[in-house]
Every structure is written in C-alpha cells, then in structure tokens.
C-alpha cells in the first residue's frame, strides 16, 4: 500500500521574525536588517512540513528545498534539511527583487526539467504579502495551480486539497504535476531534531546563479505604520458609560 513515491520541490523564502521591532534602513526603501532574526517564512515552513508528511506517508520520494536569495538563505535551506528535506538548491542573487515575476522566472528555469510531481510554496511571504511567486511560477511552467491550501493529499497521480473560505471550505482535485501554495491549516512545522541538525550538514546544498527575469517593479519608499495615538481614559465605573457611548457614536463612529 501507500502512495507511489512523489518528487516534491518546496520553494521557501527567508523573512524576519514577524514580532521584531522594525526600522527603515537609511536607503529609505527597505527595512533595516541589523539585529533582526531571520527564519523560514511561516507559510513556507508549513509547505516544508506538508511535503515531508506526504513523502513519509508514501514511504519514499524526494523533497528538495529551493530558495532565491543571497548566501544567508543557506541557513534556512539547511534548516529545512534538518527538518528532513533531502537536498537544497540556492539560486543566488545579491538581494531578492521586489518583482515577483522576476523571481518566478528564476524558479521556473530551475524547476522545469526537474521532474517534480508537486511544487509547493507558502501562500505568501510575511515581508511582502504579495503572493505572486507561486502562481506566476505555475503559469510559467504551464501547470495547474491551487492556492491557499489548508490540507493536501496525493494519490495515484492526482492531488486533492482543501481550501478555507469565508464561512465555508472547498475541496478541489487536480492532476500532477501541479503547483500548490500552502496556508497554515496543515500540520505545524516540526522542530528540527538535534540529529537532524547534524545530518543537514552532510546533505547536498547546490548553489548556482539565479536566472532572474527582468525586474520591472521596485520599491520607491518604505515607511512604518503611523504610531497609534495614546488611549484616553473617559472616567471610571458606571458613571463614565454614557460619555463613552456618546464618544463611540460621535467621535469613533463605531456604534
């Protein structure tokens, strides 16, 4: 029994911890990376976990993690291998461009002859929230694409997925090969075991120049959200309620 072996590519992105305190860099077009802690983006982490579970259930297959990025991305690739991925590919750039299509072209060039049954992405990355790269890669490869999947299964050359909608869910089926972008519903990413961390050092990590597409989108200015104005204490106890209701109606206009 068990599904046939599946070859899976998981495309990951390295992003800063979302709970960091951000500052704008002196360039004015990016955040200042000094002192930030970086890791595999949350949704990409779920995608790694989904791939590992599919291959564990199938009892074989191969999981390859791929990332476009500078050398610092190797740490994230090794982390994915410490979780259990078999090997890694870095598509090297000095910095990741803001144009998702340019990144997708680099990934498609790498993946098109790889013989992958399944190509997974996070549904979007925390640092840009663009969600372009997964779908654009599918388009470039001419593959079916299912986005924001909370549950994923593979059997007999077909995939099935669950997508959470507002107040409902849908179940979709599709032939392999396919591109799937992963939402957080799939199992939480495992902790890399200590043996896994040591084993990752010995797994192959290939680094080659990224064949980026033309970069046509760029960030002109980055700014932090405005400071939230300080709260105001209307009064204390029941006697303050009428004034509070009045302000919520007339000033905040939420009632």
């Amino acid at each position: 029994m068990g599904a046939p072996a599946v070859k899976i590519a998981v495309c990951i992105k390295r992003t800063p911890d979302s709970e960091s305190r951000f500052r704008i860099a002196s360039s004015g077009v990016a955040i200042d990376e000094a002192g930030l802690k970086f890791d595999i983006d949350d949704f990409a982490g779920y995608a790694v976990e989904a791939a590992l579970q599919i291959n564990e259930k199938g009892g074989g297959g191969e999981t390859v993690v791929v990332a476009v990025g500078p050398d610092s991305v190797q740490e994230s690739l090794r982390k994915a291998m410490s979780m259990g991925a078999d090997r890694a590919v870095q598509l090297k750039v000095d910095s990741v461009p803001a144009d998702g299509l340019a990144v997708a072209k680099a990934l498609a060039a790498e993946l098109k002859d790889g013989g992958y049954d399944l190509i997974l992405f996070g549904k979007h990355a925390f640092d840009t929230s663009a969600g372009v790269v997964g779908t654009a890669t599918a388009e470039l490869l001419g593959l079916p694409c299912v986005t924001a999947v909370s549950q994923l299964d593979v059997a007999s050359g077909r995939g099935s997925a669950r997508r959470e909608l507002e107040g409902a869910a849908e179940l979709v089926e599709f032939p392999l090969p396919a591109v799937v972008t992963i939402d957080e519903g799939v199992a939480r990413p495992r902790y890399p075991s200590l043996k896994g961390i040591m084993a990752a050092k010995k797994k192959p990590l290939e680094s080659k120049p990224a064949q980026l597409g033309a970069v046509r989108v760029s960030v002109q200015k980055a700014e932090l959200p405005p400071e939230r104005p300080a709260g105001r204490i209307i009064g204390e106890g029941a006697s303050a309620v009428p004034e509070l209701v009045r302000l919520l109606q007339s000033e905040a206009k939420v009632l």
Partner: protein, 390 residues
Amino acid sequence: MLDFYDIDSALSEEERAVRDSVRRFVDERVLPVIGDAYVQGRFPKELIPEMGELGVFGANLPEEYGCAGLNNVQYGLIMQELERGDSGVRSFASVQGALAMYPIYAFGSEAQKRRWLPPMAKGEVIGCFGLTEPDYGSNPSGMITMAREQSDGSWVLNGSKMWITNGSTANIAIVWAKTNGDASDRSIRGFIVPTDSAGFKAKDQKGKLSLRASDTSELSFQDVRLEADAILPGSGGLKSPLMCLTQARYGISWGALGAAMACFEEALEYSKTRVMFDRPIGGYQIQQVRLAEMLTEIVKGQLVSLHLGRLKDAGTFTPQQVSLAKRNNVNIATEIAREARRLLGANGILAEYGAMRHMANLESVYTYEGTHDVHSLILGQAVTGLNAFK
C-alpha cells in the same frame, strides 16, 4: 530572549539551530504544563518520548550509539533551554545523559554500550545514578554500599542510596559500591542495576519544597543479585563517579543560566507593564538597578560557560574550572530568581509566574552536584595547594 552582548555571534549556525529547536520545544511543550506539574509535585513524564525524539538525552555522545553527536557548547545550550523551563526537567536530562549514559559510555563494555545507549537516547530506558548515601553526601568516599563477587562471577549488592533523581522512574540504576569488603574508596566500582531486580526498592522522598516537578527517591538494595556483566569493566575507584559529576556539573553551569534568563525576562516584562503610582515600575530606579544587576551577572555567566564549553571541546578543561562555573552560575541564578520574585511583588509568589518556582528549585541546584561550599573548597585547594577537606 535578550542577547545583550551578542553572544550569538560567538555561536556557530548549528549551535544556534540546536538552541532554537530546544527553545521552541520548551516554549510550546514545557512552559504550558510546568506550573501545574510543580504544584502537583509530579514530573511531566509525558514529555519523555518527545525529549527522546528531539535528541536531548546524551546529546554529546556519539551517533554510533544512537546519540546526536553534538559538541559540548550545543550540549550546554540544551541544558540552558531545558532549565529555562524548569530545573526538574533539566535535572531529568542531566541524570539520563551525564550520570547514566555517560558512565556506560565511558566505563562500559562494547556490549553494554550497544545494549543500553540507543534505547536510553530515545528515552525508552530511563536511568538514575546512585552515589550519595544518607550519611555520605559531600563525602562519597565514606560510602558503605557493598558488592561482593560470587564464585560464579555474579555479584550480590547491599546498601542504600538517597536523593536519587529519577529513582522511581528509572529502569536501570547506575549504582556505585565498594567491592568485596574493601572499605577504601579505591574499591568503588559501578554497576548497571535493573530496577526490577529482586531486593531493589525505590521510595519517593516526600515533602520536597523544591524540585517538585522531579522524582527524588531513596534506593535500597537487599541481597540484590547481579549478573557478571552488570559491572562497568572500565570503572575503578572514586575517580569514576567523580568524572560523571564533572560532566553533569558542566551542564548545570549552563542550566542555571537558563533559569536566571527566565526570571530576568519575566521580571523585565513585568516591570514594563506593571503600573504603580501612574507609571510602569520599570521606570523607578530601584527596579532598574535590580534589572541591571541581573543582566550583568547573566552575561558574565554566559561568557564563563561558553568559554568552558570551548575548553571542554578542546579537551583541556579541568574539574576545577567546572567547579568555578557551577559555583558562580548557580549562585547568581539563586540571587536573580529571588530578586525577580521580589520585583514581581505579590504576584511573585504565584505558580502562574516562574520566579518563585525557579527560586525554590535553585536551592536544590545550589546544594546538589557539589554544594556551593564544597566547590569553594575545591577552588581554594586549586589555588593554595592546601586541602581544607581534611
């Protein structure tokens, strides 16, 4: 976790990866349950398989015996993170790794290593370490537990041990005993004693106000028969168990920092959110002095342990250097836990917060594995050449 001195930059990627994995395990699995476990006075046994899968048991022993093959800095960081959860949880791992697996690794036969180490690394076989006796704590050379070799090569063990962590959970006990009627400490040998042997009893020690999330037992052996292959062939003299203690004390020097870090983080957070006289108490000079003292001592301790780990990996560290680190780091941790508890005011006495639990735990850590005072005398002897024990 505040890294004020950028000590992360002195760690390798694999060292940070190990720390981060264990940190996440402690955050997600230990911290949510430890307050209740402590109040109930139980070790959270349900965590053992997960700790085994993660690989924390005997993590610095070689991969060929099913262990993770980590360096000693990685091992220390594991201890730090576990004790950030609770000293009892770290103690469990210390005993399993440094006091039960290590002697099998260091003094055991190849057959003993292959039989016991892989299941112990997975947490399927739990070990404890029997050295201390009711009347021989700081002075283990006075022990009266005795093993006598029989004509067929088997052994008969008699005696008792006290303050044995994991004693009633364990499947095997590493018992240190004098042999064949020889009262000198040169006759001390180590034995692997299955805890289901006839004549072996483990009794929980009740009424502890410290290390409540940890099993502590009294062991007694009445004519316990052991096969010839129970003895650790490479063990000989008091030096053997002391070598185990050096391993464990090294881990404790890191572990105590974990408890101190937990207390500092809790106190820092509290000081920024607790408002008294219309502003956060962290704005008052007295709390800032407290926090500055805590921070300074933690940074100093981290640098001591990190350097000690590098010396251990280089193979040049001495037991006296371990004494300095254990003595200092546990001592500062006890002070930091107490100051954190005070900063938290009345909330500081609740199990909902960690400070008082750590404070009470650390009194045991201060006392076990060589008391603070004994380590002072070891250091005194190291620098003067004069022995104050006798």
